[in-house]
């Protein structure tokens, strides 16, 4: 076996970018505009900054325990019994978020590309590929990310660039027209779109240079925030706030309304969507890996691969829970509220403060 469990810092930020940007980007403009109207883009920035702080807390935590994942850290800090709910919440969050991501992925693909194909087939096909890549481990996953990153970024730039014509940027006015409370609410809701960086709690032991982990995170967040802001601004400019609120996936509609001037090509969505499938893939695979890995750590089993095949049917069943797309987004809201907030905010903060108070772990 080749040694495949160390990732460099460049790989780390590419990994974070591709993990964070996923299916959330399609609904993001609607979600922030619903809360903060024209100031949705400010919510995006605030959500990003908040995520950077949370990432900083996680980095502090994992640097105290360089060889441990969240499972061992919580066992050490909280003890064997108290750590059970922590690990349980973490696992439950991973499993539900991947299930719902898979479902939204399936719905979008069915709506735009494969109109007559059953959504189950789309999701199972995806899961087969996910098992295949997950079983190879973290290093092949990040190498895959590295490979597709330029491709996706070029497409993304292309899409954003060609969306500019026929966009009325005065739709952004008035700035600060909504209240601060609504902007903050939008920022809170935008956090689902930033979720994914919490995987650092699991993959930190594999990062080569742990000192530069936070720096990599900053680069990743800059890329993500810029992408998100452009998407939100273009969507508001193209559809105005009232229509943005009405569209389930404003970004998708934006892609569909691209008109390349003077060209015979219309319907670029086919090309763009095929890239987006890769983007969804690079979001689902890391979480699937995280689930297998966390399970192997819980059961103190050496090989995480055995848990991949076990977890996949569970993920599939969860993805089938919502009856329709409205329920799927309600489900997602619930996950964000009751599972994501503990996972990215409460648990890391509690662990870090307790570790500091108990003077545990290594000091820098």
């Amino acid at each position: 076996m080749i040694e495949n469990d160390k990732i460099t810092n460049t790989q780390l930020w590419i990994f974070i970018v591709l993990t964070v940007i996923g299916v959330g980007i399609f609904a993001l403009p609607r979600i922030v505009v619903e809360s903060a109207d024209e100031d949705g883009w400010i919510s995006v920035i605030l959500g990003g900054i908040a995520s950077i702080f949370l990432f900083l807390i996680m980095c502090r935590l994992v640097r105290k325990f360089p060889d441990d994942t969240i499972v061992e850290i919580s066992r050490k800090v909280f003890g064997n019994i108290l750590s059970v709910p922590v690990i349980l919440i973490f696992t439950l969050y991973m499993v539900t978020i991947i299930g719902i991501t898979l479902r939204i992925f399936g719905e979008v693909v069915k709506m735009t590309l494969l109109l007559r194909t059953p959504v189950e087939v789309i999701m199972i096909t995806m899961l087969v590929l996910v098992i295949w890549l997950t079983r190879y481990g973290i290093e092949p996953i990040v190498r895959f990310d590295e490979f597709v990153f330029p491709l996706i970024m070029v497409t993304l730039f292309f899409v954003l660039f060609f969306s500019i014509p026929r966009t009325d940027f005065s739709n952004m006015l008035p700035v600060f027209g909504s209240s601060a409370a609504r902007i903050l609410d939008g920022a809170y809701k935008a956090t689902y779109s930033y979720a994914g960086f919490e995987l650092i709690l699991l993959i930190a032991p594999q990062v080569k240079d742990k000192g530069k982990m936070f720096k990599s995170g900053i680069i990743a967040f800059i890329v993500i925030i810029l992408t998100y802001i452009s998407v939100v601004i273009l969507a508001i400019g193209k559809f105005g706030i009232i229509d943005t609120k009405k569209l389930i996936w404003p970004t998708l509609t934006m892609i569909r309304s691209i008109e390349v001037p003077g060209s015979f090509i219309e319907r670029l969505e086919g090309i763009v969507m095929s890239q987006w499938i890769i983007l969804a893939f690079t979001t689902i695979v890391p979480i699937s890996y995280a689930i297998s890995y966390i399970l192997s750590r819980i059961f103190k089993h050496k090989n995480f691969k055995h848990f991949t095949s076990i977890s996949i049917p569970i993920i599939y069943l969860i993805s089938l829970i919502p009856d329709n797309i409205v329920e799927a987004y309600d489900f997602l809201d619930k996950i964000t509220k009751y599972l994501e907030t503990p996972v990215i905010l409460i648990i890391p903060v509690l662990l870090l403060t307790t570790a500091v108070l108990r003077k545990m772990g290594a000091n820098k």
């Binding site: 494969l114 096909t125 026929r166 008035p174 193209k238 105005g240 309304s257 219309e266 319907r267 969505e269």
Partner: protein
């Protein structure tokens, strides 16, 4: 080893059956690429006839509504390729002229009915134009429903163009375009030419919908069938999904300047009893709030154009700065007069805010907007809109 080979082969076979995408397999020659869709109300008398025939079916009264007639125009693939359709091809040649139409309560139903009459499957991915009949536009509920379909259906792109037909929309399908085999290209070509004449609002489906949902007022270009030709000029004025009237092309020319949608155009003026033609190359527009007293709002619309003199009556000495300045002044006066006329029409007759004055106030003067937004419909006709036009003749061609 052999066990492994068997495994690999079975995986390949399994994935082949999984990945073949057989649900969505449609051969390209089995698709009818719909280029233009025309939507009308059902012809008079049709609904009664249908009602009569389904009278005894239980629960039918819950399934009926106002009916629409949808006409689809799609090119015959073999005709484009240049092959004469000797073998017929399912009567495709006949359907070519006049399109193919069906009547039902919703568009989706007409799609199904057409599918059952065609050997091909309707495909809307490349639909470029939707034409709405006058009667439909006067039925706000039905029009809203039809628009909702086009918005909701994932097949349609949002860069389609929308047109309002004077009279019945399906008449458009009956014409035989000159120099062009495909009706949708013919329409698209006219639209492109005409938007450089400035007499139509160059507006996409997306812009139309956005305007309509943002403030309830919108415009779309008007199309008229004239013998074997189409004339696309003028604008249809729509308020709350209801057609209020058509702006004639002369009015549209100034309306588009006021709304900032006009890029180019041409107009002539009588100076010293002789005619000068001014060809506009570029137009810019800006709105300014002059008086922000909520009782007494005054808004200025400033139009700036650049252009050339393309022709003048023989014997005129144009190579003279004073003369050019005078032509500019005369043009300004005439344009301002015409603009005021159009503004008055929109404000007083139609009470229609397609010039987006309300939007402007909302974006740039939120405090004033908050005071007037609840009674905007009453306030709008009373505000003062002052157009100022600044024409700049830059070039005079190759002769003095």
């Amino acid at each position: 080893m052999s066990k492994k080979t068997v495994l690999i082969i079975s995986i390949i076979l399994f994935s082949a059956s999984l990945f073949s995408g057989c649900w969505d397999k449609v051969e390209i020659d089995q698709r009818a690429f719909v280029g233009v869709i025309m939507v009308d109300m059902a012809p008079p008398g049709y609904e009664e006839k249908v009602e009569e025939s389904v009278k005894n079916i239980p629960g039918i009264e819950k399934q009926t509504g106002k009916m629409i007639k949808v006409t689809y125009e799609f090119p015959n693939a073999s005709e484009i390729a240049g092959n004469d359709t000797g073998s017929g091809g399912g009567g495709g040649g006949e359907e070519e002229k006049g399109g193919i139409s069906s009547v039902a309560v919703t568009i989706d139903e007409t799609n199904r009915y057409i599918d059952s009459r065609l050997s091909r499957r309707l495909f809307f991915g490349f639909t470029q134009t939707i034409i709405f009949g006058e009667e439909l536009l006067k039925n706000p509920d039905k029009f809203e429903e039809v628009l909702d379909y086009f918005r909701r259906a994932p097949e349609f792109g949002r860069s389609m163009r929308v047109l309002a037909a004077e009279g019945e929309a399906c008449k458009v399908a009956e014409i035989k375009p000159k120099n062009e085999k495909l009706l949708f290209r013919y329409i698209r070509g006219i639209l492109e030419n005409e938007s450089s004449n400035g007499r139509i609002s160059d507006i996409t489906f997306n812009e139309f919908i956005t305007m309509l949902s943002a403030n309830g007022d919108s415009v779309m270009p008007k199309v008229t069938v004239k013998g074997d030709e189409l004339k696309i000029a003028g604008d249809a004025i729509i308020k709350d999904y209801k057609l209020q009237g058509f702006l004639p092309e002369y009015d549209s020319f100034y309306f588009n300047a006021l709304s900032g949608k006009r890029k180019a155009g041409s107009e002539s003026i009588n100076t010293n009893g002789l005619t000068v033609n001014y060809l506009i190359r570029n137009t810019g527009r800006s709105i300014k709030l002059i008086n922000d007293d909520p009782e007494n709002i005054e808004v200025g619309i400033n139009i700036e154009t650049e252009g050339v003199i393309s022709s003048a009556s023989a014997g005129m000495e144009i190579y003279d700065d004073n003369f050019i300045k005078k032509v500019e002044r005369d043009l300004n006066d005439v344009d301002e007069e015409s603009c005021s006329f159009v503004i008055k029409k929109l404000q007083k007759d139609y009470k229609n805010d397609t010039l987006l004055i309300g939007e402007y106030l909302r974006k740039h003067n939120p405090s004033l907007w908050n005071k007037v937004k609840d009674k905007w419909n009453e306030v709008y006709p009373t505000i003062k809109i002052i157009p100022t036009v600044d024409n700049k003749i830059r070039r005079i061609g190759t002769v003095k």
